[in-house]
């Protein structure tokens, strides 16, 4: 047992629990943020992607210790109240989802790309997204949504 503190979606969080617990399950259970999904629990699929200090990580592979004093962003932290983030809006506008289970991971992973590289080429988007899996086959629309969001955002996030 210990105390772990970190920033979560812009708010400070303080938990009294084992530091070696997996972040994915703490987010979903202790903190009630079910937007992050468990697809494989081994880091293969990316459905559990969150941002830690603006970098994309698979939360099924992170412990609470790994995020001590860091900034964590989940899908719930992306919209600004009722105003969707441009990436979320682009996914809606382009129909870049079907069952939606991979969607939070896709959006957050692409967000980390745009934070680092505001004007990626299509090949750069594909390379960054290649390890996020989608069974429904929404890949082409996901790429279009990301490229379109990059245009809308134009470096201002």
């Amino acid at each position: 047992m210990g105390t772990i503190s970190f920033q979560l979606n812009g708010q400070p969080v303080r938990l009294e629990t084992s530091a070696d617990r997996t972040l994915l399950w703490v987010l979903r259970t202790d903190l009630g943020l079910t937007g992050v999904k468990c697809g494989c629990a081994m880091g293969y699929c990316g459905a559990c992607t969150v941002l830690v200090n603006k970098q994309a990580y698979r939360s099924c592979l992170l412990t609470l210790q790994d995020v001590q004093d860091k900034e964590v962003l989940t899908i719930e932290g992306l919209a600004n109240g009722a105003q969707l983030h441009p990436l979320q809006q682009a996914f809606v506008d382009h129909g870049a989802l079907q069952c939606g289970f991979c969607t939070s991971g896709m959006i957050l992973n692409s967000y980390s790309l745009l934070l680092a590289k505001p004007a990626p080429t299509e090949n750069e988007v594909i390379a960054k997204m290649n390890n996020n899996l989608c069974r429904c086959g929404a890949h082409p629309r996901i790429v279009q949504a990301i490229l379109s969001a990059a245009q809308t955002m134009k470096g201002g996030l």
């Binding site: 081994m42 129909g95 989802l97 899996l133 086959g137």
Partner: protein, 774 residues
């Protein structure tokens, strides 16, 4: 068009309540119940569909169908809104709640049936609701019904648009239940304003914000997360289970339920941790010797004696006697996993003799009966709620996790959340069965197919129809996708069950015939699509060719173009593709895929295109990489590291063409486009490199030996002013040799040509002879 099969629906649903009580349950207003036409005989007590107009002006549509990404939540709302002249946002769709929704006649959400079969009764219900609203408005406004029209949720006087009354005020304070057994007139396709237009998906905002709840997201007070200790292989039993260490994880409950060890905890990670501390050994009892993904085909074929005739025409012997050239080939496809991104999950909460179940399922009413049976409860006391589902593809029409969760909840006395791990999702899948399809055929002296004989093992007859004009043919099946037979593990429906294998075999084979005839693959098909019965497919094929830019050329042309045709769920589909094959590795790069589809009237074109694109992407998997690996009862694919599904880097340029056919009611759209992906790529590979792959998936390991077995050949040399260019299909280990003489040859290796594919030489006046050698 496929006839509806009504499932006997003797178990009570919400209509066990009388109709007044039902309306009270749903909150008053106007309720339209639509019975299928067969109900006139008094046999069926439960309606197909109902629509409720509430006094706040919103309309609720209740259906036993569920949404797992195929977009029916939106397309059904579109159809109802269209008939009701209501804004799409005013419609609320209630899906898959067995206490509120009628059981649908199709038995589940599958078979590309929702828009086709459920659409018509839904539109009837909406049209009837509109008629009632007009009748109520006529009374209120003291006008004749014929003087009224509807628009945007209002009934309006045709002569003075200021004279109007909202649906909300008409429904307010009412308690009207209308049943409908005759079909009122619904709109003509030409009158559509909503349907036929791209519509924003109703579920999209929930899904991009993380608000969409899937089964494992459900959280209840006192709920425990459960994991079950599983045997390591089929046929194996667990022995000497020592659960002591599991109990050291604080807050863990360890119990035996239905002969299985189960670990429960308020935190799922702690439950998992505890489970992994259990020590157990296993006694293995593997299925008959030699069962792995190589030996299974011979094993399965040997288990069948007599086939079932599916279709025939003419006389095979006559056709055989007319053949001047004969072909024979056997086609193979493997076990396939569904691998939805969301594993099977269920949450069960029991209070007394009542249970509430949340389940990731395509068949909520079957889950209700299964859980009621497992708990010994009456069906009326079990409510199944279906949250959003993270992919189904047929695999969630089997729901073992629901009875597991129910039994555990009963034993534990607390609500239970059971979400399968990815390993369990692979292990307990009801796989698409493998296929062995033996085909023999012949060409007559006019290069037309004179006979065709197909023996289809394990996958049944869906997609096995003879699509082409062949005078003498016979198609027989041995087993189907629902007969467990001799399979070492469960089999079940996988997107377009059986159709992928049957289409792969037929379309590969007709391509082989085209090549034997020395004719272009498209032209050869058109030669066999001349009658009026073939008009629909002919139009789709010609549309595809025009959109793709297909120019006739006999295969192998080196272009890498493939074509494949298919029919499924009332739709016709033609796919064309362009590929590159890397001769040195056998790797296939898909450059472009085009799918043209005639699916009758298209309710939501953007939704239809999404399903076509999704089918093409998913189909790349069974064509190029997906194959279950297993041995002696052990499933060797337990995660995405070894079972490879399509990724972003695989994306070809995808094009979808919706072939107009508004004279036909809406046909299936969720499955048809996947059935041609295997064949179109196999045909494209043949066109690229002259290698016929008759077994899927076409992995590099499978394709490379076929390339290496091709005869070595130098292409005709290209001459220019002072140079000679030699080219050949490069392979490692293959090198160029030269000799100054053929009469007394002295072959010397030309340096640096091993594994290369070309050489440029200065032209000389002398003679030189070249050959390839391994």
């Amino acid at each position: 068009m496929r006839a509806r099969r009504l499932q006997p629906r003797k178990t009570p649903g919400p209509l066990a309540l009388n109709r007044r009580d039902l309306l009270k349950l749903l909150g008053g207003g106007i309720l339209i119940l639509v019975y299928p036409p067969e109900a006139a005989a008094g046999q069926y007590q439960i309606p197909d569909a109902y629509l409720q107009i509430k006094d706040d002006g919103t309309v609720a549509l209740f259906t036993g169908k569920v949404e797992y990404g195929q977009g029916i939540m939106t397309s059904l709302a579109q159809m109802a809104a269209e008939e009701l002249d209501l804004p799409l946002q005013s419609l609320r769709v209630v899906l898959g709640d067995t206490s509120l929704c009628p059981q649908d006649a199709d038995g589940g959400t599958w078979g590309s049936l929702t828009t086709r079969n459920f659409g018509p009764p839904l539109r009837s219900a909406a049209a009837k609701a509109k008629a009632i609203l007009i009748a109520l408005a006529a009374q209120q406004l003291n006008l004749a019904s014929s003087q009224l029209m509807t628009q945007d949720g209002f009934v309006i006087s045709r002569t003075d648009s200021a004279v109007r009354v909202s649906y909300a005020s008409l429904a307010g304070g009412k308690s009207i239940v209308q049943t409908l057994q005759t079909t009122p007139a619904t709109k003509n396709f030409a009158q559509f304003t909503l349907s036929g237009q791209p519509a924003r998906r109703l579920d999209a905002i929930d899904k991009v914000t993380g608000k969409a709840l899937y089964t494992a997201d459900i959280r209840l007070p006192g709920m425990l997360y459960a994991y079950i200790l599983r045997p390591p292989a089929y046929g194996a039993t667990l022995k000497s289970v020592d659960t002591l260490a599991a109990g050291t994880v604080v807050g863990t409950r360890v119990m035996q339920v239905n002969g299985q060890w189960v670990v429960l905890h308020a935190q799922p990670d702690q439950a998992r941790l505890a489970l992994e501390l259990i020590k157990a050994t296993a006694v293995y009892n593997p299925p008959p010797a030699g069962q792995d993904q190589e030996t299974i085909y011979a094993y399965l074929t040997s288990r069948y004696t007599a086939g079932t005739l599916f279709a025939q025409s003419g006389n095979l012997a006559t056709g055989q006697s007319q053949a001047v050239a004969k072909l024979g080939q056997t086609y193979y496809t493997p076990y396939l996993a569904h691998a939805p991104m969301e594993p099977h999950a269920a949450v069960v909460s029991i209070e007394g003799t009542k249970a509430t179940v949340w389940a990731s399922t395509q068949t909520p009413f079957t889950v209700r009966s299964d859980v009621a049976g497992a708990l010994g409860f009456s069906t009326a006391n079990v409510r199944v709620i279906t949250p959003y589902i993270g992919g189904g593809f047929g695999g969630k029409s089997v729901n073992l996790q629901t009875v597991e969760a129910a039994r555990i909840a009963k034993a534990a006395g607390q609500p239970v959340n059971l979400a399968w791990t990815r390993e369990e999702e692979f292990f307990y899948d009801a796989f698409q069965p493998p296929s062995i399809i033996k085909t023999s055929s012949g060409l007559d002296r006019n290069n037309k197919i004179s006979f065709w004989d197909s023996q289809v093992y394990c996958v049944g007859n869906r997609g096995a129809e003879m699509l082409y004009e062949v005078p003498h043919y016979r198609i027989q099946t041995y087993g189907n996708t629902s007969s467990q037979g001799s399979h070492p593990f469960s089999i079940g429906p996988w997107r377009a069950p059986g159709s992928n294998a049957n289409t792969f075999a037929r379309e590969s084979h007709i391509d082989e015939l085209a090549a034997a005839a020395g004719l272009d693959a498209c032209s050869f098909r058109l030669l066999h699509l001349q009658t009026s019965a073939s008009a629909r497919l002919r139009k789709v094929l010609q549309t595809a060719a025009a959109s793709f830019g297909w120019q006739p050329a006999k295969s192998p042309s080196g272009r890498g173009y493939g074509v494949a045709c298919g029919s499924d769920a009332g739709a016709y589909v033609v796919m064309m593709a362009s590929v590159e094959v890397e001769a040195k590795t056998g790797a296939i790069k898909v450059l472009r895929m085009l799918c043209a589809q005639d699916m009758g009237q298209v309710i939501n074109p953007d939704g239809a295109r999404m399903q076509m694109e999704g089918s093409m992407m998913m189909g790349l998997g069974y064509a190029l990489s997906e194959e279950l690996h297993f041995k002696n009862g052990a499933i060797q694919d337990l995660n995405f590291d070894s079972y490879a599904i399509p990724r972003f880097a695989w994306m070809p340029k995808l094009e979808t063409v919706l072939v107009e056919n508004n004279a036909l009611s809406p046909q299936g759209g969720g499955e048809p486009s996947i059935i041609t992906t295997g064949a179109v790529l196999a045909n494209a590979v043949f066109d690229a490199i002259g290698v016929r792959v008759n077994r899927l998936p076409m992995t590099p390991a499978r394709v490379l030996p076929l390339i290496q077995a091709l005869p070595l050949a130098l292409k005709p040399p290209q001459y220019s002013a002072n140079q000679i260019q030699l080219t050949w299909r490069g392979q490692s280990g293959v090198k160029l040799q030269s000799s100054p003489s053929l009469t007394n040859p002295v072959w010397q290796e030309v340096p640096n040509t091993d594994g290369q594919s070309g050489l440029t030489l200065p032209a000389t006046n002398g003679a030189a002879f070249f050959r390839l050698a391994r």
